[in-house]
Symmetry: C2
Subunit: 148 residues, 2 copies
DNA sequence: ACCACTTGCATAGCTTGCTATTCAAGTGAT
DNA sequence: ATCACTTGAATAGCAAGCTATGCAAGTGGT
């Protein structure tokens, strides 16, 4: 019963994610951004004024995590939360000018980080790598049969 | 200047790591284990009595993170830290009986989680996937030329 | 022997993630 | 209209990362 950590997909995935995150964090720190805000920003740069629920659905992130992340983003002047007028429960999230202005540099930073980390792979390998990650993510565990 | 998150290796890596971690966490919770302890446990199951420094070197984890993780492990009765008699600075980490007994079930849990998550891949794809992750991890960023 | 430097850990403080719980606002059936 | 249920968000509390700092124990040069 041996277990070689460098043959374990989960172990490697964790390690890889930490490497990517550390690299991206360093690149976007000068912009005053942190990694956790990235997913939400990407969605909002695409369609501003989404509700918190919509963000949670689009990104596979727990509601509580999103609420906390948005609170930090509001504190840091990236978004403003406003109650929907039709439904008093829903919070709509609106980007600030500052956040809109950061789109270009932030995306560049992410692309640079990806490029550097994948520099050792051929074009074909990069495609395979992304495709395989999709395949893994699409595999639903027995616990969550349909989806979510 | 568009950015498709589902084409970004970093984004996918983060997402994958969260899925693996969540799955493993659920499997080892009944054992009273959490994911953060896994790397250290694997090393110690292999060679008990390593120093904290040695653990940090073997696992690509910051010293402060390791110190915190070991503190939690000690609190939870998984390890005992004892000062080295030759060098008063170094802490040697020793597994408790409880931790030694958990080796089998914990490794099974990790193997099960890997198997389930990779169930959608062929044997060949699994090999490719692991190989590609190694290749990415081996690619050192320009910032850290030699290694560490 | 002493002083500067190095080395190994610990601590403080923060982000990002999770589960569990609570609360307020809507909805529906009677 | 009322009461049970659902739905959207917030909060509490914890794990696991990180950077930055501090501190005590060794080491080396003079």
């Amino acid at each position: 019963m041996s277990f070689a950590k460098d043959q374990s997909a989960g172990y490697l995935a964790n390690h890889m994610a930490r490497v990517f995150a550390k690299g991206l964090a360093a690149r976007i720190k000068p912009l005053g951004l942190t990694t956790g805000t990235f997913p939400a920003l990407l969605e909002l740069w695409d369609t501003d004024g989404l509700t918190q629920k919509q963000l949670v659905d689009r990104l596979d992130i727990e509601q509580a995590t999103m609420a906390n992340t948005l609170a930090r983003m509001e504190r840091d002047g990236l978004v403003v939360r406003k109650k929907d007028s039709n439904d008093g429960r829903v919070q709509r999230i609106w980007l600030t000018d500052r956040a809109r202005a950061l789109r270009g540099p932030a995306i560049s930073a992410a692309q640079d980080e990806n490029a550097v980390r994948l520099a050792g792979l051929t074009q074909d390998e990069k495609r395979q790598f992304v495709a395989l990650m999709h395949k893994v993510l699409k595999t639903k565990s027995p616990k969550e049969p349909g989806d979510a």
